[in-house]
Symmetry: C2
Subunit: 236 residues, 2 copies
DNA sequence: TTGACTAACTTGTATATACAAGTTAGTCTA
DNA sequence: TAGACTAACTTGTATATACAAGTTAGTCAA
């Protein structure tokens, strides 16, 4: 909330989310917005570019910016959000159970996934996510000990990301994710409520710190009926 | 290829794709790039911002831009690409069969999805995509007749998008997609090779023209073993 | 009426400048 | 030696200006 263009972005996005601006409306021109926000046109353009990237508006050269329909997403896996952040929006309906918590010598496959050497250790955390009484998601996290020297089972019960960012001062930069569909394993069947389901959605993520060093590999396994991924894509 | 920052983007992205720049390398500073490309720093920054958004590089304030690992994606559904564009990269291994081709009075649900009035007609096209002899994908397209007055079965066999963009001069702007997992329908089982599979990946898309008018609704149904979605996400 | 043209808007691109903020390496001091 | 400091880099933000390119509405002439 410190940058000028971020404030403008938030100002306009809020107007769209709460209905003061509705789909089909045209925004004021960039020059008018610059005037009314006491900013230069380039600063307005930065804010509008972000709004456009996030699917709030669409810009047409020579015409202006048109407001798009923004559906509120119930349960998105898009972007880079932690389960804790999701559950905060869901109130007290979500619980986390820590099934496994240990420091291990990584297998060759895991060494490869985390780009580690043989002697570097890895935290292994397996957690079950329960929503409305149903065990829906199985999260398997592997964190490089060299970036996270200390971890406790209590932190895992709450939020690892919160601990990393607020206590350790690590700042997460970006992630590469891959979504595939697999057959449920015995472990999936044991830990999740999968009666009547024949497949499981697997989201594998490589998570990097802000300085571009790989520090975490995560496999998140979702029951298919509760999985929904929403994407906004621009042509070229 | 006309914009200066696009040329710079392509120049650098090619260097990353063909290995002249490899993961971990630092790019020259923005001032050096401005000098060597005879451009202003702001123009360089536009190109670097695009590279960063597309996952080629990561920028760190005070340090510079670091090259990331770019895996070549075999079969991505990310972004906004047509099946034709995908198959061009796959050579002659892909075929398309048109199962249904008709102009219909849309059902209420379809009217809603396409935001049409009662008297407006809709093209309905159902196509099966075969890859390496296996029928993998079922594409159900619904196009508003008001934007696409003429369509032929021959166009559907080739590429609808190519026809829209090159012959009709329509320019596709953006799309909203939703990925879910469902049980296969009888139609899925009849038209696709689904022996031994118990679920199907459904990608529903609302496609908009460049002037932000909704003109197409598509449901693309994928056999789960051949589905893979790759995503690059930045924090905040 | 029709069509060509134009004027006045809109957004897109490119440049220059200034300063803020983060990183790094070396230097100086206690 | 250890720590504080600084200078010289890096990227981030904000502004101003100029012109290109697309859209729209109105005017004027055939």
């Amino acid at each position: 909330m410190k940058n000028k263009f971020m404030k403008i972005y938030e100002n306009i996005s809020k107007q769209i989310l709460d209905g003061r601006l509705i789909a089909g409306d045209m925004l004021p021109s960039e020059n008018e917005l610059a005037e009314s926000h006491s900013a230069s046109r380039e600063t307005i353009r930065k804010a509008l570019k972000m709004l456009s990237e996030d699917g709030y508006i669409h810009k047409v050269q020579g015409k202006g910016s048109i407001v798009l329909e923004m559906k509120r997403l119930d349960f998105p896996v898009s972007g880079l959000v932690s389960f804790k952040e999701l559950t905060q929006k869901m109130g007290e309906r979500a619980k986390t159970y820590v099934e496994t918590f240990e420091k291990i010598n990584p297998s060759p496959a895991l060494q490869e996934a985390l780009k580690q050497t043989e002697d570097e250790l890895v935290w292994k955390v397996i957690r079950v996510r329960e929503i409305d009484g149903e065990r829906i998601i199985l999260d398997k996290d592997f964190l490089a000990e060299k970036y996270v020297p200390l971890l406790t089972i209590d932190i895992c019960r709450k939020s690892i990301y919160e601990y990393l960012e607020e206590d350790l001062g690590l700042s997460i930069g970006f992630a590469k994710k891959e979504i595939t569909i697999e057959e449920p394993t015995k472990e999936d069947r044991k830990l999740l409520d999968l009666e009547g389901f024949h497949s499981i959605v697997v989201v594998k993520s490589h998570v990097y710190l802000d300085n571009a060093s790989l520090f975490q590999f995560t496999e998140s396994r979702h029951r298919p009926d509760k999985f929904r991924f929403v994407d906004f894509a621009r042509r070229k």
